[in-house]
């Protein structure tokens, strides 16, 4: 990533072209946007990859969960990675793919949403946020072809419609709205199969948390790149909810019971 530090203190006014309410455009006008210049040879780099994340719609909104493992080749690079983030107060974003770029992308996305909200005095619609994220993924297309893909999952509470909504993406920035549940990452296929059986309409919060954690355990059993809950070392999945009250992170202390029950439940 390159950025010229001098531009941070650039004049307050008179930017050309005018960046409007977009933070990314502001970075571009000052030549500070994150840039990864990767040539063909370096596509064999074994960079940390973030793996399974999922989202499930329930009665009050959506629950989103991710395991904690990042792998580099056949090694476990990190075992306490955070993959699920608040995008703003009414939406969450989870990442899979090349971890370093994905985390920077999330930071940029978070800043973008807050920047827009402050300048315009109103939050973007959920649809608007989802579309903007697609645009950011599209910007990474050349890197995706070199094996450095970033594939997020986006979910939020639609304040107008009064329901939770889920969006998945592909590497070219294609945006797909999902009905009930969505997964991505190396263990995503297994998690999706699990959710197909376990999903029900109008799940309550406790049931939704259990289903989400159990789907991650199912993925961890089949996929070596996905880490299940580790009770001995105190590693629990990232689990968040987005409801009419907004974004909330579930504490590890509250997940102990959920993880224990889910592990008991497994065949």
């Amino acid at each position: 990533m390159t950025a010229s530090a001098g531009a941070i203190g650039a004049p307050l006014l008179n930017d050309e072209p005018v960046p409007g309410a977009s933070f990314l455009s502001l970075l571009e006008t000052r030549g500070m946007q994150p840039v990864w210049a990767v040539d063909q040879a370096s596509s064999h780099l074994e960079l940390p990859e973030a793996t399974t994340v999922l989202a499930v719609r329930f009665a009050d909104g959506v629950v989103m969960a991710g395991d904690r493992r990042a792998t580099a080749g056949n090694l476990i690079a990190h075992d306490r990675v955070k993959k699920v983030f608040a995008a703003d107060s009414f939406s969450a974003v989870a990442i899979s793919g090349s971890a370093g770029m994905a985390i920077e992308l999330v930071k940029l996305f978070q800043t973008e949403l807050e920047h827009y909200e402050k300048i315009e005095g109103t939050r973007l619609s959920l649809e608007g946020k989802a579309n903007y994220l697609a645009r950011m993924i599209r910007g990474h297309l050349p890197l995706a072809f070199q094996g450095l893909a970033v594939v997020p999952l986006f979910a939020g509470y639609d304040e107008r419609a009064g329901t939770g909504k889920l969006f998945t993406y592909d590497v070219v920035g294609g945006r797909y709205e999902e009905q009930d549940y969505a997964t991505t990452g190396s263990g995503g296929g297994v998690a999706r199969s699990f959710l197909k059986g376990a999903f029900a309409e109008q799940l309550d919060k406790a049931a939704a948390l259990r289903v989400a954690v159990e789907a991650l355990i199912a993925a961890a059993e089949e996929d070596s790149a996905t880490g299940g809950p580790d009770l001995r070392r105190g590693i629990f999945p990232n689990v968040v909810t987005v409801t009419a009250e907004g974004f909330a992170e579930i504490d590890d202390a509250d997940l102990v019971g959920v993880a224990e029950a889910a592990l008991e439940n497994r065949p």
Partner: protein, 228 residues
Amino acid sequence: MTAPFYVPPEQLIKDRADFARKGISRGRPIIVMEYIDGVLLIGENPGGYLHKLGEIYDSIAFAGVGRFNEFETLRVGGIRYADLKGYSYGRRDVTAKGLANAYSQTIGQIFTHEVKPYEIEVFVAEIGDDASATRLFRIQFDGTLITADGFGAIGGGEEALGETLADQYEAGATLDTVISTAADAIEAVEERQVDDGDWEAAVLDRTLGRRRFRQVGPEEIGAARSAS
């Protein structure tokens, strides 16, 4: 060809300052005042869609009086400054002091170099985890940067307001009390009553999470004023 008129610099600065002062004194004032959990910003703003108060960053707020388009440009510039800095370094590295300095430089430059000086005054407030970390900065039309202690006023009648507040301000007051004190002071200076719905008010509140800026609605103002 006729020679251009010679205008002495003293005269030039005085003319510009008089022009800016005249514009600002026509505008309605804003009071900024500390209370036990943070800082209150309040002013009269009938209609209320064109905001005079705004969130700049996690713990930093903005208030502007005078020409709307001019202080709005500064508000947006401040948000850009803050988000750019916070994104490049860290969230804690964005300070009101840095922002106030940037405003001061920009406004000062415009005052001497542009055809017309800005007819505005702005206030930058910042809170920290306790009252000792509160910072209040007032930036005048010519870029003069002044720090305030506990309270401050900008806009029309600001001198009279400053005197009233100096008598009435007490450290550690509740939000209800400072809302009443500030609203009463503005009504006294303007010599008329203001409807609850015609106020624009916001607080920086250290009991909130990361983003500590919150707007204060007419019901809350009405309740606060009838309580004290």
